[in-house]
Structures are given as structure tokens and as C-alpha cells.
């Protein structure tokens, strides 16, 4: 039993920390700190900075242009990125399609798409969920029908994150309607500029534009845009669901939230004293902190197991459930800390010189509401509990 990182790992942490200190532009850092939406330009600029260093595709092996890190290096990188207020890497090309192509794609597909993901030529988005297929993803209805050497695609995807910026979308499509749901699905790549593709924004609860609906009307793409075998797309979907799950607890982000909450509580007043001296608020923060400390270890334990076994196990669903709950608790605390001063709509006091929230906290209520999504998407916490029931309890 040894909780320490090796000297090599500690040196790596220092290297990452130094890198961010030296290379993360201040405007990007501030944008992250303020918690509003990040524009396309910021994300592309940030990706380019990482790519120059060779650190953009954190999960890719070296042969495909990744850094070739193991789970521990990835964990250290993720933590340091969070502490540095770096943006989250947009995962659709780098964390999802990349590994899929590496495992299921043809040599031609790998050679063509992977470099374009790295250099930012192609911005990818994900076409999984549909209005009628959320938790029950396998019931998806978007049809892809083969017509000679083309697919003809009709249907609708939804919750397509940052689809408004995307050049390409990877889709799960139904290619055989006459077999068991899971057995008639294929994984197909679609150029968003193809005629018949339409993106409509979805405005989120807090007012932001982050997700979209994507409509396909007689969209024709080459047959060769199929990844893996026809009707075997569900295998790919399942692969992605368990792939690289050890970062899912978002421990680094929650650690930052803890710090921000503590700082905020020193600045706002309640009953004539800083809120940090209020015993109930202090108890709330301490309890969340304890849960987070435990989660740090739970995360490392599962990381260790993943490293040993070569892959994370089903127990990582615990990271998703408890990790999101802890992060949501901190979001709640930061909103709560502001009291009534959390109320102004984001940006509504900009430029008025009459801010009601300490710097970096004007969006706390918006962040709280936006963050409710994390226990819903990527397999809702209810779905995770179903998985754990089967795999860990055997019920």
C-alpha cells in the first residue's frame, strides 16, 4: 500500500504544471475562471497550444501521434489542467472518434482522419442520442440505407454538444431494422456540409448554447464512411462507454471548486461576519470536502486497478455517480454562498460597475443549473446504478 506517486510521476506533474504556467494565455484562463461559455476561437487556440507540445490527444498511443501516456500520467495531466484553469479538451474527435478509429477503423481512415483531428482541420461532434432514444440508446431510429456505394441517411440526432462548430459528425445509424435492436446499428461518419444536414441550436436552461439538434434529410455520404463492420456499431458504442473512464469523476475540477468556494466564503458577508465563519456553511463545505478527499482515493484506486488490468472495470460507474454528485454539491455551495446576489442573469450587470458577486462568481447560478446535466448525460446516474446492479451486485 503506497499512496505516493513515483519520483518520475512527480517530475512529470511539475513539467505539466510548468507548461501551463508558461503557455496558457491569460485570457483563456480568465474565461474558464469566469465560467461562461468558451467560444470556438478559444478552444481552437488552446487545442493548438497542446498539440504543439504533443499533449493534445491524451489517450492516444505514440504511433498515432499521442503522448503514449498511461492512466496515471493522464490523471496527473487532467488534475494539473484543472488547477491551471485550462479549458476541458473537447472530447469528440480526440477522446472518442480517435480511439474508435484506432481500434475499429481502416488504415486509410486512420491515415486520413487522425492527423486532421490533431491539427484542428476537422472539428467533430457526436450523433448518438435522439429525441426518442436517450437512456435507451439502442432504440435509435435514424436510418442509413445503402444505395450503391453511398449511404442515404434520414433522421434526427439531439444533444449534439458544440455541433454548431463542427465539420464532421460521427453517427450511430440503424442499418437493419429487422434484427434485434443492438444488432442493426452502424457507425458512420458524415461531413456536416453535405446537403440535407441541418443544425438547430438548443438553448439550455441557463440560457447557454452548447448543444444542438441535427437533422438529416436524404443525406448522401460514401459507403466507405462506415467505421468497422456494417451492423456492428453497437460494439463501438459499448467500447466508448467503458473507454477511459478513470477521469470521469472530475476530481481536479471539484478540487478547484472547493478552493473557489472557500475563497468566496471569506469574501461574502452574512450576519455581519464572513460566511466562512458561519458554522452551518462551514459544515456543508467540510462535508463536501471529506467526500471529495475520499473520491480522490477512490479514483486513484480504480486508476491503479485499470493500470494493472489494462482496462477500467464496471466499478468505474461509482466514479460517475459520486463524482457528479460531489461536483454538483460544490456548484450548489457556490451559488448558495452568494445568497440573493446569485440572482442576476449572466452578463446583466456587465459594464455597470455595480457587480453584486465577487470576481469570477457572477455566473455561479448559471453554472449550478448547467451542471445538472452531468448526472444525466454520458449514461445517467440511474443507468450507472443499473450497470452496477448487474456487474457488482449480481442482482
Amino acid at each position: 500500500m503506497d499512496l505516493n506517486f513515483t519520483p518520475e510521476e512527480e517530475a512529470f506533474r511539475q513539467e505539466v504544471r510548468d507548461f501551463f504556467a508558461e503557455n496558457l494565455p491569460e485570457d483563456i484562463r480568465d474565461a474558464v475562471k469566469n465560467g461562461g461559455e468558451l467560444g470556438k476561437e478559444i478552444i481552437e487556440r488552446y487545442h493548438a497550444i497542446l498539440n504543439k507540445k504533443g499533449w493534445l490527444a491524451t489517450t492516444w498511443p505514440a504511433e498515432f501521434g499521442g503522448p503514449g501516456w498511461g492512466p496515471v500520467e493522464r490523471h496527473i495531466f487532467d488534475e494539473e489542467a484543472a488547477f491551471a484553469y485550462a479549458p476541458r479538451i473537447v472530447p469528440f474527435g480526440l477522446g472518442m472518434l480517435g480511439p474508435v478509429l484506432q481500434k475499429f477503423g481502416s488504415k486509410e481512415q486512420q491515415d486520413h482522419y487522425l492527423p486532421r483531428i490533431l491539427d484542428g482541420t476537422d472539428w467533430w461532434c457526436q450523433g448518438y442520442s435522439e429525441p426518442g432514444a436517450g437512456s435507451d440508446l439502442a432504440s435509435l431510429k435514424t436510418r442509413a440505407v445503402r444505395d450503391g456505394d453511398e449511404w442515404v441517411i434520414n433522421g434526427q440526432k439531439t444533444w449534439t454538444t458544440l455541433g454548431q462548430h463542427a465539420d464532421w459528425i460521427f453517427c450511430l445509424c440503424r442499418t437493419d431494422a429487422d434484427v434485434k435492436q443492438q444488432e442493426g446499428i452502424s457507425f458512420i461518419l458524415i461531413d456536416m456540409s453535405t446537403p440535407g444536414v441541418e443544425v438547430r441550436p438548443i438553448k439550455l436552461i441557463e440560457g447557454g448554447h452548447e448543444v444542438n439538434e441535427v437533422f438529416f434529410t436524404d443525406v448522401r455520404v460514401p459507403y466507405g464512411n462506415l467505421v468497422g463492420e456494417e451492423n456492428k456499431g453497437w460494439t463501438i458504442a459499448k467500447y466508448l462507454l467503458t473507454h477511459e473512464r478513470t477521469g470521469i469523476a472530475g476530481v481536479g475540477f471539484s478540487m478547484l471548486e472547493l478552493e473557489e468556494t472557500r475563497e468566496l466564503a471569506k469574501k461574502v458577508m452574512r450576519n455581519g461576519k464572513p460566511l466562512s465563519e458561519d458554522p452551518l456553511f462551514a459544515a456543508r463545505v467540510a462535508q463536501a470536502e471529506i467526500d471529495l478527499e475520499a473520491m480522490k482515493l477512490t479514483n486513484l484506486r480504480m486508476l491503479f486497478t485499470a493500470q494493472k488490468n489494462g482496462a477500467p472495470g464496471p466499478e468505474t460507474s461509482i466514479l460517475k455517480i459520486k463524482g457528479t454528485v460531489i461536483n454538483q454539491e460544490f456548484k450548489d455551495l457556490r451559488r448558495r454562498a452568494l445568497g440573493p446576489n446569485a440572482a442576476p442573469f449572466p452578463g446583466s450587470l456587465d459594464g455597470s460597475n455595480l457587480d453584486v458577486a465577487p470576481a469570477g462568481n457572477a455566473n455561479n447560478a448559471a453554472r449550478y443549473f448547467n451542471n445538472r446535466k452531468t448526472s444525466i448525460f454520458g449514461g445517467s446516474n440511474e443507468i450507472q446504478r443499473n450497470i452496477l446492479t448487474k456487474t457488482m451486485l449480481g442482482l
Binding site: D136, K203, E206, L280
Partner: protein
């Protein structure tokens, strides 16, 4: 013991439900709640014509109600449609003016819009620590999150007058008013006074302010109950319709039990608001107002978060009405003292 509404209140409730439902369809509500002036001046006129404000003041003060139950009936209906009109300010101003024996015909008719400035940046709930002060009939200071302040003609403002708290009237035109929309819709304002002319309404106003805050709490809690009730029904309806894995998700037992727990907390919320409304104006008013605000804060978080989670995605969107109910329910907690603030008041009084 009788938990039925009186005939008058039943009529008021029916009339409000009928009228407000039409006036504040969710698309229209969202349009006016998030665009200047962050409410609907035309519909404010119609609402006041229904006599909604008269129900908030006692007969002796020119109104037709003013009891806790009257306030409760009106605000529960406002909550059911997420009404963005500045009625809270009118209620609290009316309580203060009743205490002062001031004429409030212009307020109750809706002709003049009042907002109340109590909390400040560093004293959001606890008025002992406010710094706005008056000398020689001139008021200086800043009031934060003045609900309805963006649309007010007149402010009633709590200020230090020597050692004690007093209420002053200040014309909106004499103040610097920065209005804005709130996260959950409707407007508020930062109001800055720089040696503005201020008319004394009530000296030694501590007790009157406490009463106005208690009335405001009964109002907000009733509003929350209305909104929670609608959101819960929306959720149950969604559970019955939405299909996943080949069947309505309302057939999944975990969602059933969680929906039952929401119902239980809503019933508890309704109960404690009835109690707080019954005690309003009496010696125990503050104690029960604090109890209500605490319970509503806890129940509200449960109901709003569970509603979003059980809808699973759709309630994360602006387009779905439920999201706006969830926002209102969550944000109510921080108005006039939150869960923890009121819990400690109850604990310390024990």
C-alpha cells in the same frame, strides 16, 4: 378546524387561476420575464384590475384582505404561472404603509408601483448591518437585489436613522436605478441613493419591517408551493408518457418512489405554509415564517433537482417549461433569507 378556503378566497383563487393561465402562457411569460422591463406592463394593469393587490391589504387600510391566507392564495397562483409581475414589492410596501397608517390607494390600485429596498451587498438578510443612512432628509447608500426595482415608481427604503431602523420613501426619479433580469426571470435592480430626497414613512420601523419580511416569506413560500405543484404534475405526466426500453419510464420503480418523495415534501411544504400564514401578524409569526422558509428551501431543492433528473435532458432546455419552474423554485431559496439562515433562527429561538 377547517382547511377549506372561505368562499371569498375560493372565488379569488378561481378568478386568478382562470385569468393568469391565459395571460402567462409560458412563451409569453419567458418573453416578458427576460426582456426589459422584465414584466408585462399591460398585464400588470389587468392583474391589478382583478383586484389582486387589494387582496393583500386589510380593510382598515383600504384593502379587502391582508390576512396570511389571502396572501397565500394570491401568490400560489402567481407561482403556478411563474408570474413576473412585481407583486412582492407591492405586498411588502403595503405592509409597511399599513403599519405607518399611510394612504395606499395608489399602491393597491396598481397605479403607482412600489418596490422595497431592504438588503444590501454585505447584509443581504440581516438588517442590523445595513449602512444606508439618512441625514437632513437626504438618503445615501445602495440597495441590492431590489425585487421589482427596475419597474418601480417609488421605493420604500430601510435606512439607519441614528441608531434605529426607519423606512423612507424615495421617488425612483431621485435614485440611480440599474435594472436587470434575474436567472429565473422577472426583474430586480441595484438602487443607489446619493443624497436623494427621502420622506420619513415610519420611524422605529424594526417591528414593521419584520412583519413585512414575514409577509414576504409567506408570499414566496406560497409561490414556491404553486410552482412545485405544477412542476411535480409535469414530471408525473412526463413519466407516464416518455418511453424508454419499450415502456413508460413511470413504470420504473425507482422513479415512482422518488416521485412519491417529491409529493410528500410538497404536502409538507403546503402544511408549513398554512401554519406560517395562520400565524402572520401574531407573536409567533417570525418563528413560523422561518420554519416555512427552511422547509421550502429543502423541499424546493429536492423537487427541482429530481424533476430535472427524472426528465433526463429535456428539462435542461430553455424550451421545456419545467426548466423555468425548476429555476424559480431553486432561486426562491435565496430571497428574504435562505435555508440555513432560517434554520439558525429556529435553532436559536429554541
Amino acid at each position: 378546524m377547517n382547511f377549506d378556503l372561505t368562499e371569498d378566497r375560493q372565488m379569488l383563487q378561481d378568478s386568478l387561476r382562470r385569468n393568469l393561465g391565459d395571460k402567462y402562457q409560458i412563451d409569453h411569460r419567458n418573453k416578458v420575464a427576460y426582456a426589459e422591463p422584465f414584466h408585462d406592463p399591460a398585464k400588470w394593469g389587468e392583474l391589478t384590475e382583478l383586484g389582486a393587490l387589494f387582496a393583500l391589504a386589510p380593510e382598515a387600510a383600504g384593502g379587502m384582505g391582508g390576512a396570511g391566507f389571502d396572501i397565500s392564495v394570491v401568490f400560489e397562483e402567481l407561482g403556478r404561472v411563474l408570474c413576473p409581475e412585481p407583486v412582492l414589492g407591492a405586498l411588502m410596501a403595503s405592509r409597511l404603509m399599513t403599519a405607518a397608517g399611510a394612504d395606499q390607494e395608489a399602491l393597491l390600485s396598481g397605479e403607482t408601483r412600489y418596490a422595497v429596498g431592504l438588503g444590501e451587498l454585505d447584509a443581504p438578510y440581516d438588517l442590523d448591518n445595513i449602512t444606508t443612512s439618512v441625514s437632513d432628509g437626504k438618503i445615501s447608500g445602495r440597495k441590492s437585489l431590489v425585487y421589482g426595482g427596475q419597474a418601480a415608481d417609488v421605493f420604500l427604503v430601510a435606512a439607519k436613522d441614528g441608531g434605529s431602523l426607519a423606512i423612507y420613501e424615495v421617488a425612483a426619479s431621485d435614485a440611480s436605478v440599474t435594472g436587470y433580469a434575474m436567472m429565473d426571470g422577472a426583474g430586480a435592480a441595484e438602487v443607489v441613493f446619493e443624497n436623494a430626497p427621502a420622506k420619513l414613512v415610519l420611524a422605529d420601523a424594526g417591528a414593521a419591517i419584520e412583519d413585512a419580511v414575514n409577509a414576504g416569506i409567506v408570499a414566496l413560500c406560497s409561490e414556491a408551493v404553486g410552482a412545485m405543484d405544477v412542476l411535480h404534475k409535469m414530471t408525473v405526466e412526463y413519466l407516464g408518457q416518455r418511453k424508454q426500453f419499450g415502456r413508460p419510464i413511470g413504470t420504473f420503480q425507482v422513479l415512482q418512489h422518488r416521485a412519491v418523495d417529491m409529493l410528500t415534501e410538497i404536502e409538507q411544504s403546503r402544511s408549513i405554509v398554512i401554519k406560517a400564514a395562520a400565524e402572520l401578524g401574531g407573536p409567533q409569526a417570525s418563528r413560523y415564517a422561518s420554519m416555512a422558509k427552511n422547509l421550502i428551501g429543502r423541499a424546493g431543492r429536492l423537487v427541482a433537482e429530481e424533476a430535472i433528473q427524472m426528465h433526463g435532458g429535456i428539462a435542461m432546455t430553455w424550451e421545456y417549461p419545467g426548466s423555468h419552474y425548476a429555476k424559480r423554485i431553486i432561486m426562491i431559496d435565496a430571497q428574504l433569507g435562505d435555508t440555513d439562515y432560517h434554520l439558525m433562527r429556529v435553532a436559536q429561538a429554541a
